[in-house]
C-alpha cells in the first residue's frame, strides 16, 4: 500500500535533488522514483556504517587509491557500532591539519616514550617514595 510523503525543504536541497534526478535519468515529475532510489542508496551506506565499516570509493581501472566518504552521521553510526561509550574529541581545521601531518610524515620515535613503554611492559615498576615534608 503506497503512502503520500510531503516535506518542506530548503532551496539548496531542492537543487541537490534536481541534480541527482538528472544524473539518474529520471523524469522531472518522478519524485517517488527519486525518493526510492535515494532510500536504496542511503540504506546501503547506513547499513555499512552500522556494522562499523568505512565506505571508500576506488577507481580500480585507473589504479587510483580510494576516497573515503566522510559524513558525521556515518561517523556516529560507526562509533555506536563499536558498543563502547566514548568521549568525543573534536578537532577544528587547524588541529585536523596538524594531526594529518603527525600521522603521515615519517616518525622519529621519541626515546623517552619508547623507554616509558618498555618500563610499563617490563612490569617492574615501583612508585617513588614521597616526602611530604614537615
Amino acid at each position: 500500500m503506497s503512502t503520500r510523503f510531503q516535506a518542506q525543504i530548503k532551496p539548496t536541497t531542492v537543487e541537490t535533488l534536481e541534480a541527482i534526478r538528472e544524473r539518474l535519468g529520471l523524469e522531472p515529475n518522478d519524485r517517488a522514483g527519486l525518493l526510492e532510489e535515494l532510500a536504496r542508496l542511503a540504506a546501503w551506506s547506513i547499513e555499512q556504517a552500522s556494522r562499523g565499516h568505512h565506505i571508500v570509493a576506488t577507481d580500480n581501472v585507473a589504479g587510483v587509491s580510494g576516497e573515503e566518504h566522510i559524513d558525521p552521521v556515518l561517523q556516529r553510526l560507526r562509533r555506536d557500532a563499536s558498543g563502547v561509550e566514548v568521549e568525543p574529541v573534536m578537532l577544528n581545521e587547524a588541529e585536523a591539519a596538524r594531526l594529518r601531518a603527525l600521522m603521515t610524515e615519517p616518525v622519529e620515535l621519541n626515546q623517552d616514550f619508547v623507554s616509558a613503554l618498555r618500563r610499563v611492559l617490563d612490569g617492574e615498576r615501583v612508585p617513588p617514595e614521597l616526602d611530604w615534608g614537615a
Partner: protein, 179 residues
C-alpha cells in the same frame, strides 16, 4: 619527615570519601575541583571513564598524592572539509584514542617522580585496552592546562594540536607499537 610509596587505586566512592578528596592540593584549581566534584559523577556515567588515585595509605589519615583520569575517546573532525583532505594514507574519522583527561600531583610532593609514574600507569592501562582488542586505540591524547604541563608531555614526543589552553596534545601509538 615521613616517606612512603603510594598505591594506585581505582576511584571508588566508598574507599575515597569526600574528606580524603578535600585534602588534595594543586596549583590548578580546576584539577582540585575535578577531583572533588566530577570524578564520582563521571565514573558513574561513563563506564570507560575512570579515575585512578595514587594514595599514600602509610600516612594516618591517608592522603591522595596524585591522580589521573582515562577515557576512551573518538577523535573527530568538526567539519567534513577538515576531514577530507588528503585522506589516502590515513584511517577514516573517527579515530579511536585514549584520552588522559586529567593528571595531577599534590603540590606538596611534586618533583619526586610521581608525575612520571602516573603517566607510565596511564600508558600501561592504555596498552591493556589495546591488547584486549575490543577497541583499536590509535592515538594517546591529553589536554595540558599550562606551559609546564605542555613541556612535560613534549618530553615524551607528544605533538601539540592547539595553540590555546587546554593545549590538546597527541601521540600516534601505531609506530611505537609496531617498532
Amino acid at each position: 619527615m615521613t616517606v612512603a610509596r603510594p598505591i594506585i587505586e581505582v576511584f571508588d566512592a566508598d574507599l575515597h570519601p569526600p574528606s580524603l578528596l578535600r585534602e588534595f592540593r594543586n596549583q590548578e584549581e580546576s584539577l582540585v575541583r575535578y577531583l572533588n566534584r566530577y570524578a564520582r559523577k563521571n565514573v558513574e556515567r561513563h563506564k570507560l571513564n575512570q579515575t585512578f588515585l595514587a594514595v599514600d595509605r602509610f600516612r594516618k589519615p591517608a592522603r591522595i598524592a596524585g591522580y589521573f583520569t582515562l577515557a576512551v575517546c573518538s577523535v573527530e573532525a568538526q567539519s567534513a572539509k577538515a576531514a577530507l583532505e588528503p585522506l589516502s594514507t590515513l584511517p577514516g574519522y573517527p579515530i579511536p584514542g585514549m584520552l588522559l583527561a586529567q593528571l595531577a600531583v599534590d603540590e606538596r610532593v611534586q618533583g619526586q617522580g610521581l608525575g612520571t609514574f602516573l603517566i607510565d600507569e596511564a600508558l600501561l592501562r592504555t596498552l591493556h585496552v589495546v591488547q584486549a582488542g575490543q577497541i583499536p586505540i590509535r592515538l594517546f591524547v591529553t589536554d595540558p592546562l599550562n606551559e609546564a604541563a605542555v613541556a612535560f608531555y613534549e618530553r615524551y614526543g607528544m605533538t601539540r594540536m592547539s595553540d590555546d589552553y587546554p593545549a590538546r596534545m597527541v601521540q600516534d601509538l601505531k609506530p611505537y607499537l609496531e617498532a
